[in-house]
Symmetry: D2
Amino acid sequence: MANSRFEYVKDFEQPDVLLPNTWIVVRIDGRGFHKLSDHYAFIKPNDRRALDLMNAAAVEVMKELPDLCIAYGVSDEYSFVFHPSCQLFERRNAKLVTTIVSTFTAHYIYLWSTYFPSKPLHPPYLPSFDGRAVIYPSTRILRDYMSWRQVDCHINNLYNTTFWTMVQQGGMSNTDAEQELKGTVSADKNEILFKRFGINYNNEEEIYKKGSVLYRQYELEEPKQAPASKEDEVSLPEAQQSRSQQDKLKKLRRKAQVVVDHVDIIKDDFWERRPWILSGRPGRLPVQS
Amino acid sequence: MANSRFEYVKDFEQPDVLLPNTWIVVRIDGRGFHKLSDHYAFIKPNDRRALDLMNAAAVEVMKELPDLCIAYGVSDEYSFVFHPSCQLFERRNAKLVTTIVSTFTAHYIYLWSTYFPSKPLHPPYLPSFDGRAVIYPSTRILRDYMSWRQVDCHINNLYNTTFWTMVQQGGMSNTDAEQELKGTVSADKNEILFKRFGINYNNEEEIYKKGSVLYRQYELEEPKQAPASKEDEVSLPEAQQSRSQQDKLKKLRRKAQVVVDHVDIIKDDFWERRPWILSGRPGRLPVQS
Amino acid sequence: MANSRFEYVKDFEQPDVLLPNTWIVVRIDGRGFHKLSDHYAFIKPNDRRALDLMNAAAVEVMKELPDLCIAYGVSDEYSFVFHPSCQLFERRNAKLVTTIVSTFTAHYIYLWSTYFPSKPLHPPYLPSFDGRAVIYPSTRILRDYMSWRQVDCHINNLYNTTFWTMVQQGGMSNTDAEQELKGTVSADKNEILFKRFGINYNNEEEIYKKGSVLYRQYELEEPKQAPASKEDEVSLPEAQQSRSQQDKLKKLRRKAQVVVDHVDIIKDDFWERRPWILSGRPGRLPVQS
Amino acid sequence: MANSRFEYVKDFEQPDVLLPNTWIVVRIDGRGFHKLSDHYAFIKPNDRRALDLMNAAAVEVMKELPDLCIAYGVSDEYSFVFHPSCQLFERRNAKLVTTIVSTFTAHYIYLWSTYFPSKPLHPPYLPSFDGRAVIYPSTRILRDYMSWRQVDCHINNLYNTTFWTMVQQGGMSNTDAEQELKGTVSADKNEILFKRFGINYNNEEEIYKKGSVLYRQYELEEPKQAPASKEDEVSLPEAQQSRSQQDKLKKLRRKAQVVVDHVDIIKDDFWERRPWILSGRPGRLPVQS
């Protein structure tokens, strides 16, 4: 029984290659995590175990895909970033997105019992994630994307911290707390926390305030005087990187440790001291102590 | 700290809505399952536990997404089919594909220990899946797609059954068996199995020969005289289904049991007796005995 | 001087092949024709010369592209329809659209002086057209598209006829006429025309009421009893048409005369008597008298 | 007669907005110009009238679309370049491409008789053009695209000049000339021209060797020391340009004269002295003499 009569159906598959020489960000989001976090009784406003589980799954994704150069996570979302020179899966959109979503999900489910030993998973409450790829044509815009996520983390965390303090320590109803916070700005929330509850928001844990940044660890460098030229290198056409060069870079990246950091990624300092993230060229491995 | 300065990055997200009134097939494939099946010592040519696990995960996907009208699985791949009238996630490509890939992965990992109790999962050998969506403009072509997968199942299974019988029972080396099978047609393989090993291929298990078909179970109907008109109904514009009608249909579909079948889906009979699959309209629930 | 250093830029061209086995409609629109029609003093509400020029240009497009099976024009817009089996330019979107837009523009400019001998063209008032392709997955929806355009023609023409009669014969200001027509339905406009100006809208010229339908002329057929099966044939996969069959069909189509008709294309009759339009198979050439 | 029953067909139109902050190049090509140039007996290897006509039509396109910042033409092709900050037609692909193709075609047909007074156009030999849009994520790659076209111009012109000299002055047959040129490099062709025909290729007209560059004329500037920072400005997100700023820039651009130049655009000098092309910001208008 030959299959040739039906093979024409393959013609309906349409190409989905992402534009060359652009940054690829795959952002994934927990599906229905509001309900899920209620079901497994996540601690409000931040459940450290849940965040550590997200980070652990993301570290595994970074390790399986050396083409990834940085990732940023907050709450139940994670952004994974491929360099403009990335040629993985010929830059096919669906391949890149589904590989990340599936690998992340697999590790998240697998590691669940490590982080929530007393709360076994059971259907229909299995965690799952959706995702999408977005491309950004320049390093400036990629950095603005990263800043956007970190500012969002800050805004949401300040709100949630204030809201849940008012409810949990202040004994307010959810509705009353929501009502009072409507229209307030950051300064107002800081004041509520400090005046009423003696909480200095600045002393909250960095992981809650800044989110989590994942990258490969090399020796930090001194910020350069002329960072502009750095960005310029990034836009070198990928065509000028041979397959063997790419494989060599991949191997070097596998050797580096993936670290989880909770630091400012909006200012230049973070990027200037870790030039390998934007350049796509591995740095020097730290000397083992 | 307002986020407005960075929000322009949202403009880079591009719409990916799939053409209305077309069949959507999301096909997922195991990533690196050749290596994985070696690592966990899957039985050759078919490991019943592995297939049952695939089917169990697929059943859960069907149950979570009542918009799915049929699914077909073979080996480490599964095709999930949405009806042309489907409006789930506004038919956004990435949402549909990643939701299926992630939900499938979650259940596959979660159920692993049920099917392989003596082979615990461990990184870096965690199973994962990639996927893609393809749209088909007519019922005829959707059915040709399904036929294509089932013919593929048959071709591969006949080859694998013959190959592994020659190796396992005939004591041949992999290379010798491969060499002898080169250029053979179906009849040749049937003859090798029967003459040398006394195996009648027709007596092999249906799940291996036909793959697995999943659908919601209603009362079977008598094949109609004029099935053509049936197909015609399919192409009714989705615009004529209101949101509340859609919700009602969704509820009805949730009530039906998802069954796993191993039958011919190439001939008309399967489809004519289960008209709800192509029409998208739930049938009559079977009377409980 | 070899060009290889720069040739990588070709990788940025992205494929734009339209989904196989779908109807392709290329709709073009006059750019800034409101201003243009003022400048060349087109007669209101309908300038017969302008419509005849549109039709003449469209006939030339149909003659140059035998793959087109029907076209429909109203005012300064024209819709050109390719059959689902069309393989022209491998169904590349940009090629199909720009070829039609450019060919139409060329003939429109070339023929202008024939239809407007006393109004020579001059920059910056050169007519031009934009265009886009849309695909439709079934014959039913293609016909609904055509109906949509013809209903639009009717609605606009009834409004314009009433409006301009009120202004030109009734001596009303544009603003007053617009004001009075606000919120009126068809019956109201018919009554205004008839009661105040003795005009029976039904007696208006068909080209204004129905727009213009272009197709290749073969011998009309008797409407079939079961037109549904007809539609079914349409959806045969194009893969089953060989290149030589396609060339033969193309030649046959070139032989047929392209006619300009002003008839109802909403009801079944038009399509049933001209089955070649939807089937994509040329009919019998009319006997020469 | 309401149109609501059919309006759902509008849902089949799919968005085609080009990625923000990228260079947009619309390249158009003459359709069947080989045959056309034979029919109207264009002079070989270069017909100055035909090139001047191409340039004249392109100048009109530049004048009608002030968003265009540069154009480059060779033979029967023309590339029109929109700046990354361009918001024309919300960056809709089909709109941009068809507007340029149609406007160019209109002027080409309209101006034909000026450049070929003794060769009136007549169907079916009306010139027409197809086109497509390609986006480039950085200024470096845009410049490589421009270089690619100019190198192509050089390669083709050297070949054509040599070939036609061998045929026209050397009395060789087309086949013999083609045969002899097979496998030759630039130096070989230069030698054939010089040794056999006393022609120094360097003395050929610039328009043939370099093609035609169109841009808006402002006062030339001195090349900067650090052009890198210039490029950087280009990638500023368009979001930071308000609608009114854009309109103001559009007006300034309309005031500048569009010039036709035949110069090197591969080296930096051209771009550094005309920084307004890559920056998208109009320069100083030249003082009228």
